[in-house]
């Protein structure tokens, strides 16, 4: 694990100085500079230093608590920053903490019986990680790795369980989070098992990501934080096939790709592929 003073922080800080507003994920982190000013001073949507004053709280499923519960929530756990590539926990590790993502994206993966790594989902702001393992009292079922600099609230197991016991709304949100996790797992299995072709599975994946990022907006655009190899892993196909299909979709003008930003221009065409 890393903290603000780690090498990861320094690396991330230099990146932030170059580009304080990272594409579609503005203000992924805030940092104390040597002068004592924060990076947040460069941007108006900066994350605050505590949960009570977080302007994004109402958008996050778990942290949108009553004032009383929020005050309590603010007092538990610690806020940590992780550099890209940092592992928050690994499959098989004892589940000692619950992690709530404030900013950034985390890759959730698991290992199959034949030793292959399988990416199950990309967790984003507001997602709670490690909750099922903590509440079921078993080792982590998955590995969580930051795919970009991220800020995560880390709460000790017992502290979190006690907090849920004190606040009905928090346990309701925890239940919703677990239920969401459950749906994600089913969704993943369904995507792999029920889409007949590699093109269909890739199309389903792009549509899922796009619609999540669009959040009801007409433009379906998102930032691809994964490599083609990793996307192939999620779609149950090869890296070469992903590259070929993305090129094909682009040639057909169903999608446009600019840098790491992907826009779905003709979602209906992709939808047809998933049938």
């Amino acid at each position: 694990m890393t903290d603000f003073r780690s090498a990861g922080f320094i690396a991330a800080r230099s990146k932030m100085t170059e580009n304080p507003c990272l594409a579609s994920r503005p203000c992924a982190l805030y940092f104390k500079l040597h002068s004592g000013k924060t990076m947040a001073a460069f941007h108006s949507h900066h994350p605050p230093e505590d949960c009570v004053n977080c302007e994004h709280r109402h958008l996050r499923m778990f942290c949108n608590l009553t004032p009383e519960a929020l005050q309590d929530y603010d007092g538990i756990g610690i806020m940590m920053s992780h550099a890209r590539g940092a592992k928050l926990f690994s499959e098989g590790d004892p589940a000692r903490n619950v992690f709530i993502i404030c900013f950034g994206q985390v890759k959730i993966s698991s290992t199959s019986r034949d030793g292959k790594t399988m990416i199950l989902k990309i967790a984003g702001p507001g997602d709670v990680m490690g909750l099922s393992a903590v509440l079921a009292n078993v080792p982590h079922e998955v590995t969580a790795e930051a795919i970009e600099p991220c800020q995560v609230k880390t709460v000790r197991k017992q502290e979190f369980v006690d907090f849920l016991g004190r606040h009905g709304i928090a346990s309701m949100h925890a239940a919703q989070s677990l239920s969401g996790e459950y749906l994600t797992v089913f969704h993943d299995a369904k995507r792999l098992a029920l889409s007949g072709s590699a093109a269909g599975r890739l199309a389903r994946l792009l549509l899922d990501w796009g619609r999540t990022a669009a959040n009801g907006k007409p433009e379906i655009r998102f930032t691809m934080a994964l490599t083609h190899e990793e996307i192939a892993n999620m779609a149950g196909t090869s890296r070469e096939t992903v590259t070929r299909l993305l090129n094909q979709f682009r040639r057909d003008q169903w999608i446009t790709i600019k840098g790491s930003s992907l826009t779905i221009v003709k979602p209906d065409q992709l939808e047809r592929l998933t049938a």
Binding site: R113, L120, S171, M172, A175, A193
Partner: protein
Amino acid sequence: MQSQARSGRMEAVAPHPLAELLECPPATGNLLNGATVPIDFVAGDVLFNQSAISRGLYVVISGRLLRRTERMHAHLLLGPVRAGELVELAAVLGDGCHTYTLTAQSSGSALLLPIQALSLAFQQYPPLRMHLLEELAREVSRAYNACCMTRATKVRRHGPDALGE
């Protein structure tokens, strides 16, 4: 080695007995008992459909039921439900929509604990929610394991003609 670890993990997340999960003080127990709706089913009956709004928590008393998820003309069997199991905790505690379709394979009976009664019971006796939350966590853990199996196994895809149901 890895399969041993996985089977150990599956044992650790096995469903807990119903009596333990629904243990609560007499007043809350009476509330739940009073609200419980008995359901009898025969082979082929659909107890609920995927994506439908959940009416509550189902407790299977007897009979064989099968969980099935579908998309367009394809379906995936998610396995049987045994007597004594709580069904669709995720829907009750979460977004209120069913994750899969539950179909009867034989005659039997189940109990339905309506959502409204459960909500009242949670208010009266908060540890009940925690017990169910822990059971949901175990269910999620089991789903992760099942998902890994699905990923590792070459899945046979069925067309509408091959359903045989």
